[in-house]
C-alpha cells in the first residue's frame, strides 16, 4: 500500500476524497516551492530613433538547472504590476517587456522601437521557484 499524506478541506473525508479541489494538501500532487523573489529595475528610452533596441537586466538564479519562474512588470512607476510579457504598441512607439531564463540568469528585457517618448524605468517583480523546468 502506498503511503500518502492527505489533508482535506473541512467536511471532506481525507481517506476517500479524490477531487484535488477538496484537498488542502495531498502528497499525490507537487506544489510550487518558493526559492527566491525580488525586484529589478531596467532603464530604457522609448525614443530609439526607430531602431529596435534591447535594454536588459539580469538576476543570477544560482541553480544548476533552469527553474520555474514568473514575472510581473510596472512600467509607469505607479505600483501597478501586470504579467509579463507585456506588449504595447501606441502611435510611434512599440514596446515589449518580457523575461526569459538561461542556464545562469533570469533575464529581463525592455524591447523598444520608437520615434518619440522619454527615458523611463521598468520595475520587474520576479518569483523563482525551486521546481525544475525539465527541458
Amino acid at each position: 500500500m502506498t503511503q500518502k499524506i492527505v489533508i482535506s478541506k473541512s467536511g471532506k473525508n481525507a481517506i476517500s476524497e479524490t477531487n484535488p479541489d477538496n484537498l488542502i494538501f495531498s502528497s499525490d500532487y507537487n506544489t510550487l516551492k518558493y526559492y527566491s523573489s525580488g525586484y529589478i529595475n531596467v532603464n530604457y528610452n522609448e525614443n530609439t530613433n526607430g531602431t529596435l533596441t534591447f535594454y536588459k537586466g539580469t538576476v543570477a538564479h544560482g541553480l544548476d538547472y533552469i527553474p520555474f519562474f514568473y514575472v510581473y512588470v510596472d512600467i509607469s512607476s505607479s505600483g501597478t504590476f501586470t504579467p509579463c510579457p507585456k506588449i504595447t504598441s501606441f502611435m510611434t512607439i512599440n514596446q515589449s517587456f518580457y523575461a526569459y531564463a538561461d542556464s545562469t540568469n533570469i533575464n529581463f528585457v525592455c524591447l523598444m522601437q520608437g520615434t518619440s517618448g522619454s527615458a523611463k524605468t521598468a520595475k520587474f517583480r520576479y518569483f523563482i521557484f525551486k521546481n525544475k523546468i525539465d527541458l
Binding site: 489533508i7 478541506k9 484535488p20 479541489d21 484537498l23 488542502i24 494538501f25 495531498s26 500532487y29 507537487n30 506544489t31 510550487l32 534591447f54 536588459k56 533552469i66 520555474f68 519562474f69 514568473y70 509579463c84 510579457p85 506588449i87 515589449s96 518580457y98 523575461a99 526569459y100 531564463a101 538561461d102 542556464s103 533575464n107 528585457v109 524591447l111 523546468i133 525539465d134 527541458l135
Partner: protein
Amino acid sequence: MKIKVTKAGYNALTETNVNNYIFHSDYNTFKIVKSGAGNFTVTSNSTESKTITHNYGTRVGFMVFFKHTNNRITYMNSLVDDSSSTSSLVIRGIPPIKNTANAISFTVSNLSGTNKTLYYQYYLFEIPV
C-alpha cells in the same frame, strides 16, 4: 484540528501572519495536478497551430514553458530575444495560448528557412477556470 508549519523563528502556536508559514491547513496549496513535456517540429517559413493533448478532463489553470532554438526558456507567448541572440520561433499572442478540458493550443511561427524543434513543458494547476 489544524496542521501548521512555520518558517524558522516563528511560533506555530501564536503566529497570525500566513506569510510566515511554510504550511497551514487553513489555506489551500497551489497544487500541480498534472505536468508533461514534449516537442514539435515547426516547418520552415511557416505559421502552424499546435496542440498539447493532456486529457486531464477539466478546464484548469495552466502554464507552458518553451525552450527556443537558442536554448533560452520562457513561458506562454513571451519572447527570448536580446541583442546577443534571437530565436527563429515565435509563439504567437494572437490567437492567445488557451487551455480546454483536454488540450492546450497555440500558434507558432518559424521565421527561418529550416525546420526547427520547439520543446515544451506544461503544468496544470488545481484551479478550475
